[in-house]
Structures are given as structure tokens and as C-alpha cells.
Amino acid sequence: MISLPSYLFLSFALFIAGIAVMVARKNIIAIMLGIELILNSAALNFAAYTRFANDNIDGHLMSLFIIVIAAAEAAVGLAIVIRFFQIKETIHIDDAAQLQN
């Protein structure tokens, strides 16, 4: 029987993985994947808590909205990355270093 702690452990692992990806990877697309991991870990949490802990349907609503808004954010983010790539011919995060102190 899969219970609440298993889900929480999985989502926490996803969260840590997302943070690790963002910190370690230098590829902008990979960093955006890390953001998706974090958002999905939160969505999973909401769904799991609704199912096992408090039967409040609002949690499912939150999950749905997170999925929708993550898609919108990814769309805008990717459009900006494409623009950046067309100008700079690179998607390495260290090349985005023109604006600095």
C-alpha cells in the first residue's frame, strides 16, 4: 500500500533534484527542466495531501492550476531562450553575463 509518506518522500526527492539541476547545470534548457521538477513536486504534494490527509478538493484544484501555469511559464521562458539563442548563438548560462556590476 502506497501511503502519504512515500509520496512526500518522492516529492521531496524531486524538489532536491530540481534545486541540484539548477545549481549544477550550465545549460539554460536544463535549468528550465529543473524549474519544472520543482513545480511538479509541489503539484504532487498538493494531490497527495488531498488524497490522504484532508479530503479538501481545493488541493486538486491547486495541482491543476500549477500544471497549467507551469505550461504558460515554460512557453514564455522558451520563447525568451530562443530569442537569446538567435542573438548570442549559445544557450550556456555563463554567456549571459553582460549585465554585471
Binding site: M32, G34, I38, L39, D58, M62, V76, N101
Partner: protein, 488 residues
């Protein structure tokens, strides 16, 4: 209980009008041909639409506070005043856009449309009473801001600014959601008022989960108002974005984030207890750091725009002082500070925009001898700089004075001393520009086209509130006094 949906809509006129304005502007923009550059009718309808939003928000101030849409949105005098400040900020940014050369003519309508969208997000955020509305508000605000930052598509710096903004924004909203999900798990509801009553009967063991979760929640909001340590994106984004966009960013998202922060502090943390101590402690450290880091980093800058970006970080820190006292005096002082800050920022950016359009950059040297070429403009900029530094008898001083009153009222002496010292530090870089304008000879005598008679009139008109609020501030403080946060 909240009113039903149809009845709710009648209390939701400002937001609906803002949405209508946005859609109307999209349609109007579609009727223009590519080569028509002026677009007078477009801007006229934008002004009319935003002004109507302003008027309807003003009507809501005098009404009884109530919660609508099954208690997910609260319309109270506080949120209405914050909405008015945001609308005024948007109006100012649109005015600067219509005159600026930093954004290409064809892109100006896009800026106005998306700025109205960001405004809708800010309005949602300032009256949010449940996690979902808060999240949607933050994302509406953010996603459109990413596009605004990278508005100048051909420009390397602008797209880099958009990239950085979207990466930092995505990360912080993800972290915030992770915190929110655990708060939901422990308290079992997404409604703020129900959460607050659940917090009263909490077990000690639940606090182990709740404390870090609220910290993660704070990350998301702190990112929106750009407080240290989540401020790294802000100077880069402010510098890379076109100037009208920077003006817009330094007002609307900040005010919206502060409004949400005030509502959350009042709802969850007004009762003494472990959570209250933790929240106030975190806010105190963050506020002190924000003021100091913002000011110290502003000193060495070459670009006036970047200097103003850092100074806006430090002003956010000062406003956080008004948030962390969690009482009515604090709320009142934040409202007053936001109004004063709004006008000071608009004037400063308006003048910088005209100078930057002429010379192609906004380094400090471009302001040399401005006093002898455009005395009215130099005096306006000097007044604003003095006001930003907090010198009496200007509005910036009165605003800071009220914040200090709120902090001292709670006996947070250390914070007051840090804020006072920061005021002194900020004098250095604010007065640097005044010194250059007065003491250095002018670099050239070519006229600056941005300082046409109409623009000079607009700048002087925007300057008047800065002067008047420094002397006749009782009216506004009485108004702000009525801006109580309503907790159902």
C-alpha cells in the same frame, strides 16, 4: 460568508475594467497599420481605461470591506488604496513610454497592453485571500514581466534581462509553491482566514513542518519585492530592460508584493507566539540587509538607472520595516511611503529617460551642468533626489518619519538606528548627481529633444505632489489611516 458570484462581480468592477481595457487595447492596436507610428487614439484610450480603473478603485475606499467569490478575494480600503497606487504607477509608466525613444514605436502598444496585464495581476495579489488567487496573481504579474523585460527583441541586454528574470522567477515561484503545499497539508485548507483559525489550535510538532514552509513561502514574496538575499536578479533586470519598463518594475510589482506581504502578516502572524517571533525575526534581518546592501551597492554605480535600481531595493527594505511591526501604524506608514515613492520614482525616471534618449546611455557624466541648460528639470531632479534621501520638508522625509514612528512604537531601536544610518549613506549617491548637475560645466549645448515644453510641464506637475506631501501630509495620512486590513 461571501456574496454569491453575480453579487461578487458588482464589487469587482476595477479588475474587470482593467481586463476590459487590456482586451480593448489589443483590438485597437490591431486596427493600426505597420507604418502608422503615432497611435494617438491608442494612448488616449489607454489613459481613459486606466483612469476609469482609478476612479472605480477610489469609489471602493469608502465602502464597507467585504469578501467576495466565496471568500477568496477581499475588497477592503487597504487593497483599494494599494490598487490606486498601482494604477497611478501604470499611468505614469505609460506616459513615459509615449515620450520615450527607448522602446520602438511599434512596440509601445505592446508595452501598454502587457503593463495593463501586470496591473491586473497586481490587483489580484493585493486582495488575495487564498493560496490559489495569490499564486495566480504572482504568476500573472511575473509571466508578463518576463516578456516586458525582453521587450527590445533585437537587443542583447534586453533579452538577457528577460532570461534572468524568467529563470529566477520560475525558481522562486516553485520554491514558494513547495512551501505552500506543506502548509496546505498541515492546515488542511487553502483559504487564508481558515488557515489563520487553524493556526490557533496547532500542535507543537506541526510547527516543525510549518516554520520552514512559511520560510519557503516568504522566498516567493520576497523575490517579488526584491529583498536581499533574493535581489540578485533585480539590478540586472532593471538595467537591461528599456527605461519605461524599469520605471514600471520599480513601482507596480513592488507595491503588489508589499500589499500581499502586509495581508499575510496581519492574517497569520498578528497573535503572539512562536510563529510571530519567527516571522518578525526573519523580516527584521531581511529588512536590515535589504536596506544596507541596496545602499552600499548603489554607491559605486556608473549608470544612473542602475543606481536607481539599487536605491529602489533599499526603499523596499525601508517599507519592510513598516510591514514587520504588524499593526495599523505600520500599514498606514507603508501606504504613505508607497505614495511618496511612486511620485519620486516617476519624476526621477522621467528625467533620466529624456537624458538617456539623447545620449544613448545614462552615465552620471551625462547630467553634467544640466542646471545651466534646463534649470527647471535640474531643480525637479534635485528635489526628487533630496526627497529620496529623506531631507525635510519633502515627502520622502515625512514618509521615513512615519516608518520610524511605527518602528519605535514597537521598541525596535536597532532597526531604527540601521535605517537612520542608511539614510545618511544614501545621501552620498543621491547628492552626487545634484553636485554634477550644479558644479560641473555642461558637456554640450545641443538641446535635449526629450525636454519639450509638454514634457517639462509633465515633470513639474509630477513634482508637485513630492513637494506638497512634505508639508500637507495630514490629508493623506488620514486616508491611509482608514486603510485597515480586513480579516474575515
Amino acid at each position: 460568508m461571501g456574496a454569491n458570484y453575480l453579487a461578487s462581480l458588482s464589487h469587482y468592477v476595477p479588475e474587470l475594467l482593467a481586463c476590459l481595457t487590456m482586451f480593448g487595447l489589443i483590438l485597437i492596436e490591431a486596427t493600426y497599420k505597420e507604418e502608422q507610428k503615432t497611435r494617438g487614439f491608442f494612448f488616449l484610450s489607454a489613459y481613459i481605461g486606466l483612469a476609469s480603473v482609478l476612479v472605480f478603485s477610489a469609489f471602493a475606499i469608502t465602502k464597507e470591506p467585504l469578501s467576495i467569490f466565496t471568500n477568496s478575494i477581499i475588497i477592503d480600503p487597504f487593497s483599494s488604496i494599494m490598487k490606486m497606487i498601482m494604477v497611478l504607477g501604470t499611468l505614469g509608466a505609460v506616459l513615459i513610454t509615449s515620450q520615450s525613444k527607448d522602446i520602438d514605436g511599434n512596440l509601445k502598444p505592446e508595452f501598454v497592453i502587457m503593463a495593463t496585464g501586470v496591473l491586473v495581476g497586481g490587483m489580484l495579489l493585493s486582495s488575495a485571500n487564498n493560496m490559489l488567487v495569490l499564486f495566480i496573481g504572482i504568476e500573472t504579474l511575473s509571466i508578463l514581466s518576463y516578456v516586458l523585460a525582453s521587450l527590445r527583441k533585437e537587443d542583447e541586454r534586453s533579452s538577457e534581462a528577460g532570461l534572468k528574470y524568467s529563470l529566477y522567477g520560475g525558481i522562486s515561484s516553485g520554491i514558494m509553491l513547495f512551501g505552500l503545499s506543506h502548509i496546505f497539508g498541515v492546515l488542511g485548507t487553502i483559504n487564508f482566514t481558515e488557515m489563520a483559525s487553524a493556526l490557533k489550535t496547532i500542535q507543537q510538532t506541526d510547527l516543525i513542518v510549518l516554520m520552514p514552509s512559511f520560510l519557503l513561502f516568504f522566498v516567493g514574496l520576497g523575490y517579488k519585492i526584491a529583498c536581499v538575499p533574493f535581489h540578485m536578479w533585480s539590478p540586472d533586470v532593471y538595467e537591461g530592460s528599456p527605461l519605461p519598463v524599469t520605471t514600471f518594475f520599480s513601482i507596480v510589482p513592488k507595491v503588489a508584493g508589499l500589499a500581499a506581504m502586509i495581508r499575510i502578516s496581519h492574517t497569520f502572524f498578528s497573535d503572539p507566539g512562536a510563529l510571530n517571533v519567527g516571522w518578525v525575526g526573519v523580516l527584521s534581518i531581511v529588512a536590515a540587509l535589504t536596506m544596507t546592501v541596496g545602499n552600499v551597492s548603489a554607491i559605486g554605480q556608473r549608470s544612473v538607472k542602475r543606481m536607481l535600481a539599487y536605491s529602489s531595493i533599499s526603499h523596499a527594505g525601508v517599507m519592510l520595516l513598516g510591514v514587520l511591526v504588524i499593526n495599523e501604524i505600520g500599514t498606514r506608514s507603508v501606504v504613505f511611503y508607497s505614495v511618496a515613492y511612486l511620485f519620486m520614482t516617476l519624476v526621477a525616471f522621467y528625467v533620466v529617460s529624456a537624458v538617456a534618449d539623447k545620449y544613448g546611455n545614462d552615465h552620471f557624466e551625462r547630467f553634467n551642468g544640466l542646471m545651466y541648460r534646463y534649470p527647471a528639470m535640474a531643480v525637479a531632479l534635485a528635489v526628487v533626489m533630496f526627497s529620496l534621501a529623506g531631507i525635510p520638508p519633502l515627502s520622502g522625509f515625512v514618509a521615513k518619519f512615519h516608518i520610524f514612528t511605527a518602528v519605535l512604537n514597537k521598541n525596535y531601536y536597532v532597526l531604527a538606528i540601521i535605517a537612520g544610518l542608511n539614510s545618511v549613506v544614501s545621501l552620498y549617491y543621491y547628492l552626487k548627481i545634484v553636485r554634477l548637475m550644479v558644479l560641473k560645466p555642461a558637456e554640450s549645448t545641443e538641446p535635449i529633444s526629450g525636454f519639450s515644453l509638454m514634457n517639462q510641464g509633465a515633470i513639474v506637475a509630477l513634482c508637485i505632489p513630492v513637494l506638497l506631501l512634505g508639508v500637507f501630509w495630514e490629508k493623506l495620512i488620514t486616508l491611509a489611516d482608514g486603510a485597515k486590513v480586513f480579516i474575515q
